[in-house]
């Protein structure tokens, strides 16, 4: 098995309501994989369950190891990172402390060079490094959330709606950085409502509807698919947000 992350027949339920049904997916090394779908399709639920925040029925393996008995913190230590939709920053602490804590499980000497790499990726964060996270703008908070996750040296970074509520110019910046991550050897699992932008940078794509994958394949094929075009891309102009 060569896939970095492989999810087989996953079910996630809130009580009796199954939010994710029989979902299987794979993310390979150096790959951007996107899950697109409407609001409430179960995308966030799936990411949370892969991270260990919600209980999942089925099999999830990462870097060849079964994750079933591992806590969130163990998964982080293995190189699985999540930037959640609500970012979950330490709002009363400054940017630098947020980043430093992202490397909690990393050797101190390596953390120092990681922080420089993150600042190189997001120069804005360096300018604001003594500012409290809660006082940053939405775009800066998203950058900080991504930076904090990168401090943990993830092999796979899962991004939940990174473009939500951000200005188009910042969205473009964030998508550019996602492709840079792939170039530097980090795989990305990207959940987006902005299907057009996501499909443009992704290698593989899954389309999720009502808790199930209805389509999957190469991102370029999915983007060309008529049904997808009608449901998710149809009413948009180039570069516009899907929300």
């Amino acid at each position: 098995m060569s896939a970095l992350l492989s999810v087989t027949d996953a079910h996630v339920a809130y009580g009796k309501v199954e939010a994710v049904r029989s979902v299987s997916l794979e993310v390979g090394a150096n790959e951007i994989v996107t899950i697109v779908g409407a609001n409430g399709a179960g995308k966030t639920t799936l990411l949370s369950a892969i991270m260990g925040i919600l209980p999942l029925k089925g099999r999830v393996s990462f870097a060849g190891q079964d994750l079933a008995r591992l806590d969130i913190e163990d998964r982080v230590a293995m190189g699985l990172g999540l930037v959640p939709e609500h970012r979950e920053l330490f709002v009363t602490m400054n940017v630098e402390d947020n980043l430093e804590l992202g490397a909690f499980r990393i050797e101190r000497s390596r953390a120092k060079s990681s922080i420089e790499r993150v600042y190189a990726l997001f120069p804005r964060l360096k300018e604001r490094r003594k500012q409290l996270a809660g006082t940053l703008s939405g775009g800066e908070q998203q950058m900080l959330a991504m930076g904090r996750a990168l401090m943990g040296e993830p092999k796979l970074l899962m991004l939940d709606e990174p473009s939500l509520g951000l200005a188009p110019i910042i969205v473009a910046d964030i998508f550019r950085i996602v492709t840079e991550l792939r170039a530097s050897g980090v795989s990305v699992l990207l959940v987006e409502q902005n299907a057009q932008a996501a499909l443009k940078i992704a290698d593989q794509a899954y389309v999720m509807e009502l808790g199930e994958f209805v389509l999957s394949g190469k991102a370029s094929d999915i983007a060309a698919n008529e049904r997808v075009a009608a449901s998710y891309l149809g009413f948009q102009h180039e570069g516009a947000s899907a929300i």
């Binding site: 991270m51 925040i53 008995r69 806590d71 969130i72 913190e73 982080v76 230590a77 990172g81 999540l82 959640p84 970012r87 979950e88 920053l89 330490f90 709002v91 009363t92 602490m93 402390d97 430093e100 804590l101 992202g102 909690f104 499980r105 101190r108 904090r148 996750a149 401090m151 943990g152």
Partner: protein, 346 residues
Amino acid sequence: MNTTIMLFLVQDGITNGAIYALLGLALVLVFAVTRVILIPQGEFVTYGALTYASLAAGQMPGTAKLALALGIGAFAFDLFVARKALHGRLVVRSLLTNVVLPAIVLALTVYFAAQKPPVAVSIALSLVIVAMIGVYLYRIAFQPLAHTSVLVLLIASVGVHLALQGLGLLFFGAEGQRGPAVLSGAFTAGALRFTGQSLTVYGITIAFIVGLWLFFGLTLYGKALRATAVNRLGARLAGIRTTLSGQIAFLLASVIGALSGIMIVPITTLYYDSGFLIGLKGFVAAIIGGLVSYPLTAVAALVVGIVEAFSSFYASNYKEVIVFMLLIPVLLLRSLAAPAVEEEKD
């Protein structure tokens, strides 16, 4: 009232207030990190004080045995939780920290108790014993409930308090005890007389507050604790174990409690149940600080201490009533200032 009496009362109030400040800070810390309202904080005070006093008197304190018993319990919990994926390193580590360590401390306590140890040894042993009790209690009573509501944690906290108080009666008897002063001697400055013990209280309190401030501001673990308090999920996603944060918080709280007890017991006779009332006064300060603000808690603690000193001079029968009445205007103001919020689920 003349100035001398007033100065004396203020001085007395500040000495007590310093202790309440430490206890209040520990309560705020534990609540912020684990959402536990630490009612047994007072027992840490009594256990620290009476363990110290017993050792100084050449008696064997039962708390050392309790630490070993709780450690064995904590070890059993660790084994049970990891039963499906037991591996050698985990078992050895848990065995060392939960069983071997308290066993060594118990052996040392037995050895030293027989020969009236020097003050420094008694203090060190008392602190270590109570610290272990605090950490193992977290493992046994609170860590398994970590995901439940504040109310459930509060009920567990009351249960632990009652159990510890009962055990305190068993270990130390109903008689009160006093310990030897950490620093004897005294000097006068103008109208005021400073005893070595009150100077110790000021010194240790200030050192501890500065130490905590440095710990939270500069060290990675200190920041991790703050992070857990600010955003539990965010901390977990950064790889910070909430159980580790909880352990550190309980470790600090139990050390602070024990240290406070050791500082008070040369000044006042302490009984097995005295800690509760002392802890409650720290709690009053913590409530005035809204269970979140460290500086406000420290200031409030000094106010509580001074109010207590003055009310014991003017109306000693009502001194507790007056101190706890401080809460009413504060809560009233807070309830008017803050919008009604439902308890957060996480």
